[in-house]
């Protein structure tokens, strides 16, 4: 084990980035389209559910996403012109292809969030980790015709090999590093991997599960986050990700206040409303490998 993963240059100083059209903040929305299993196998280092199986509330809450929440969230995003860059439990392509097809029809981009959100990568050997990466690439290709370009580790579980492996498979970005508001280089054995700013702090999971915010308080936090990053982006383009889980944001008391956020950002004029892949492209075109 090491006391510093050495994944990136710790210095916060980097050449300025510019976004298309003189926009100051690249805003991307990351819906997590997930499938949780009712009775997953036990992992030696992490429990899937807090209750004995079936954890009716835990599972039912997540299942709300694919029956109700997704459609409400996706409609709100489309109404205000926000595409999704999807963190996908790829087994959703097998279980409920309608949800994946809906995102694809809206022009959304897909990257992998593992097979299920109830299968964790900790302690996988290299062959096992390669298997879930290859499975992800093949499954998303088959379901959407897209080659995945990014990775958000399943339930945020990693090994020390993960970054090297996804770079070797040609993926462009990881969403697992939280050290910056701008994209940056990740040190890998081969290939070229970018750290794409995702977010824990303004993730709806943190807003509603960790900080216990009301829907309107969460909306206010997103607007403050955006306003600050849009201002700081005058010096060097910033990135704001809005990571969502439709079983949270798609609840009937939350989607209305959230729509006010989308309206605010869309009307502001400083936002480059885009996808993670387009941000990766803009970064690569400005920063030599």
């Amino acid at each position: 084990m090491t006391d510093d993963p050495g994944l990136y240059d710790p210095s916060p100083i980097a050449p300025p980035l510019r976004w298309p059209g003189g926009k100051t903040c690249a805003v991307w929305v990351a819906p997590n389209l997930e499938y949780y299993e009712l009775d997953p196998p036990a992992h030696p280092r992490r429990k899937s559910w807090t209750k004995p199986h079936p954890d009716v509330v835990g599972y039912g809450h997540r299942d709300h996403a694919n029956r109700v929440g997704h459609w409400r969230m996706a409609e709100a995003m489309s109404r205000h012109g926000f595409p999704g860059s999807v963190s996908l439990s790829v087994a959703l392509c097998d279980h409920i292809p309608e949800v994946v097809a809906d995102g694809a029809a809206r022009g959304w981009e897909f990257f992998s969030h593992g097979i299920y959100n109830t299968r964790y990568a900790y302690d996988m050997d290299e062959a096992q980790e390669r298997a879930i990466i290859e499975d992800s690439i093949a499954t998303v290709q088959r379901a959407t015709g897209q080659r995945i370009r990014g990775w958000l580790a399943p339930a945020l579980t990693h090994t020390v090999r993960t970054m090297d492996l996804i770079a070797e498979y040609g993926l462009d970005y990881t969403c697992d590093l939280y050290h910056d508001d701008r994209p940056g280089a990740v040190n890998t054995a081969s290939g070229r991997l970018i750290s794409m700013p995702y977010s824990l702090e303004v993730n709806d999971h943190y807003g509603f599960f960790i900080y216990n915010m009301s829907p309107r308080d969460y909306a206010d936090a997103l607007i403050r986050q955006y306003d600050r990053l849009a201002r700081e982006g005058e010096a060097s383009g910033t990135v704001m990700c809005i990571p969502l889980h439709s079983y949270l944001i798609g609840q009937p008391h939350r989607i209305g206040p959230f729509e006010r956020v989308l309206e605010h950002i869309a009307a502001d004029g400083r936002a480059w409303i885009t996808t993670a892949g387009a941000i990766a492209d803009a970064y690569k075109s400005q920063v030599p490998a």
Binding site: Y35, E37, L38, D39, P41, H43, P44, K51, P52, H53, P54, V56, V57, Y59, G60, H61, R62, D63, H64, N66, R67, V68, W71, A91, D94, H95, I96, P97, E98, I115, Y116, R119, D123, M124, D125, Q128, A131, I132, F208, N212, M213, S214, P215, R216, Q251, P252, H253, I255, G256, P257
Partner: protein, 305 residues
């Protein structure tokens, strides 16, 4: 380091759900529901009537709201009794003021402890939902099937003995079920449960003993979640429910009848400093032309599932 090879096997990875309890269904693609009188949103208020014994049980788990200190925990025992003795009448009165019929999820021992209140609730036209025997009557996998069956039959018999009415609906404590629960509820002749929070309208579940309707009682919209867990004010709670109602009423215009479940806990919502906000909410809801205050058995029947 390596995981057991079975960890990368996915035996249920196929079209549909990873279990046989119910099929997948998209809320927005179902035939629109028509509630009585063309109402837009069924407002289903569920009031929990809970009796917490001074001797808490951790088998299979300790119920939320149960005793917390070393024995004897007079603090929580009496505070919960306050909710039953003073809070429930406040809620019954608030419902009467707006002419709302609601559903009371009752432990059978609660009905035995407060028989006059239980009978008054029934006389006012409210539904009694069976809610186990007392707050030691929790259910989870690991509870012996015979013990679980005894909780269900004991609850139904106790509630019927006090109120004269055999409940048709069931709410598990903390909405926690075992693998056996849906089957045992169907075997006991119950028509619906309220444990699954995965949908916003009633849907039918399959069990080996016949089918069972689930009326989703969204825990995210409960006073326990918003006020006790998330530590928000009663005013914020009422505002969140008004926001939810507005959203659902909008959807009803294009997609058919919607449902707003409001799960209230007397020792949380019916305190003197919070009940005004709850009454204000009920008054606001009563003033909405599209609101239909309905019991859980009424929405189960009206949904036609």
């Amino acid at each position: 380091m390596s995981l057991d090879p079975s960890y990368l096997e996915y035996p249920h990875r196929a079209r549909g759900m990873d279990h046989g309890l119910y099929p997948w269904s998209n809320l927005f693609e179902r035939p629109p529901l028509a509630w009585p009188q063309g109402k837009a949103v069924a407002v289903v208020i569920v009031v929990s009537c809970e009796f917490f014994p001074l001797t808490p049980s951790d088998v299979p788990f300790r119920a939320p709201g149960h005793m917390q200190t070393a024995y004897p925990d007079y603090r929580h025992f009496t505070a919960r009794d306050y909710g039953s003795r003073l809070g429930v009448p406040r809620l019954v009165e608030a419902l009467a003021k707006v002419g709302a019929r609601a559903s009371f999820a009752m432990n059978s021992r609660w009905a035995e402890r407060f028989p006059l209140l239980a009978r008054e609730i029934v006389a006012a036209g409210h539904e009694v939902i069976a809610h186990s025997t007392d707050m030691n009557g929790t259910i989870a996998t690991g509870l012996a099937e015979a013990d679980e069956r005894a909780l269900i039959s004991g609850s139904l018999a106790g509630l019927e003995a006090v109120t004269g009415v055999r409940p048709k609906g069931w709410l598990s404590i903390a909405r926690s079920q075992s693998w056996n629960t849906p089957r045992l509820l169907a075997e006991a002749g119950l028509g619906h449960c309220l444990d699954w929070v995965n949908d916003e309208l009633p849907f039918r579940m399959a069990t080996p003993a016949g089918s069972l309707i689930n009326v989703p009682l969204n825990h995210e919209l409960s006073d326990r979640q918003v006020i006790a867990t998330c530590q928000q004010s009663a005013d914020s709670y009422a505002e969140q429910l008004r926001d939810a109602y507005a959203l659902l009423a909008g959807e009803a215009a294009t997609h058919g009848g919607r449902m707003l479940p409001i799960h209230l806990t007397p020792y949380i919502s019916a305190l003197p400093y919070r009940i005004d906000a709850i009454e204000g909410l009920l008054g606001w809801l009563a003033a909405q032309p599209g609101a239909w205050f309905a019991r859980s058995d009424e929405v189960a029947a009206a949904s036609g599932v």
